[in-house]
Symmetry: C2
Subunit: 265 residues, 2 copies
């Protein structure tokens, strides 16, 4: 545990009462005692020094004191030494089976992905178009738990957001609305010339929105590749083996974050 993600309702009040699960998380899981301190982060990314004022069976009272990100604060644990800047990364992930999706969301959040969008494409094994709203709601609730845990463990200053809907590949260009380059990863040999990751992102300002589109286990069809190219998305053949969907996303996120942070800082 590196930081505590404050409730969505928190608005910088000097004192905060946590109940039930949230209270137990601090007292039982993290085993914090009265008088101990921990860092908290609110939904906007502001950092607070939290002091445990009182713990009872039912609830736990905290005092909250906003601090600067890089202030040296005495807590039970520290924030990571690297404090940014971070590139502005969106992961567009074609649907995978549940456990794989959990792993992808968790690792993407750890790394500091800003936004995750789930996509239905032709070769996706799960088909969510037939699911009712409740099943979809449960899926997003599960993924949001992964996000929260990953932010707390990794100390990430990026409030990763999972867009709460599933769209199709063909709706993607309209949704993205030319915010910045979109890279998609394929295994075909159809492109004569192909830019490297360094060539595509190496000279962009670090705040440029960049989206990475990762196919499902079955990859993209020829027709899908053409559609994506017509929309101006960059086809990228990673210089590695055929990666499973859950490896491809983190591979590309890691490579691009490294290129952008090392060129820009």
């Amino acid at each position: 545990m590196r930081q505590y993600v404050l409730p969505k309702t928190f608005r910088g009040e000097p004192s905060l009462v946590l109940k039930e699960k949230e209270s137990q998380y601090l007292s039982k899981v993290l085993r914090l005692k009265e008088g101990q301190q921990i860092l908290g982060r609110d939904q906007e990314g502001k950092v607070y020094q939290l002091t445990i004022e009182k713990i009872s069976k039912q609830q736990c009272t905290l005092s909250c004191h906003q601090v600067k990100e890089d202030a040296s604060v005495q807590t039970t644990d520290a924030l990571p030494s690297y404090s940014g800047p971070y590139p502005n990364l969106t992961l567009m992930q074609c649907l995978c089976k549940g456990k794989k999706e959990d792993q992808i969301v968790r690792q993407a959040t750890e790394i500091g992905t800003r936004e995750i969008m789930l996509i239905q494409s032709r070769y996706c094994v799960p088909n969510l178009s037939s699911k009712n709203e409740k099943a979809l709601g449960n899926r997003f609730e599960r993924l949001n738990r992964q996000v929260k845990e990953a932010i707390q463990q990794s100390g990430s200053p990026i409030p990763t957001e999972i867009i709460p809907e599933v769209i199709t590949l063909s709706e993607l260009p309209t949704w993205w609305n030319n915010r910045g380059p979109v890279l998609f990863f394929h295994q075909s040999k159809r492109y004569e010339t192909q830019k490297t990751l360094h060539e595509i992102v190496g000279n962009l300002p670090i705040e440029t929105p960049i989206a990475l589109l990762v196919g499902p286990e079955g990859g993209f069809s020829e027709e899908e590749c053409t559609t994506l190219e017509d929309a101006g998305f960059h086809p990228v053949l990673l210089r590695t083996n055929i990666l499973r969907s859950e490896t491809a996303g983190i591979y590309a996120l890691s490579a691009i974050q490294t290129i952008m942070t090392e060129k820009n800082t």
Copy 2:
């Protein structure tokens, strides 16, 4: 399935009989029929076109015909479009709990890591020094199954090897014997100047042996960091959040493979 990993006993014979599990893998899992073809790779990395000559309940007979790596071979599936060169990467991974270790080995193999060495360090949760030989043997057997599956799925031309022993952090410099740079990943702020990954590996020839040392969940102690530095290992603070051990390895492997293959090709 992209390629079949041939048995260790295979020495290029024109015909091969597979029994039991191996036979069932081709006939039941991959559902190959008589007359169909698939690519195989032997322990040295040579590629064969395999034709299913006969399938019975007990066994399956293949004819084997060695082919060039980049030959266009008619099979049920193709090798990846990228065929090298690959950097020469060793992952030195401090022990994690079983499931995490499986995931790390699997993803490292997919990416094309040449060698994986398991390390016992101070903050490792599992302690293998007290385990008997049989338990250790089972652990390596399980990890080797992950390697084989990952090579088959990813089409990797790298015959990833897990070194079948666990050594301590202090034994590491002697074992590595100055083959090339070793990078280790930490979260402390003790180093005034720190080289980027691009600076450390960006100008090395792609065949240079490079080792990445990833700590356990608890990280490295101050004392361990000093020992590693004294051995000439490079401390690296990744420009990202605090990553879990299973994310740190793949993050670093992806970043370094991308830097080296894009600079060298």
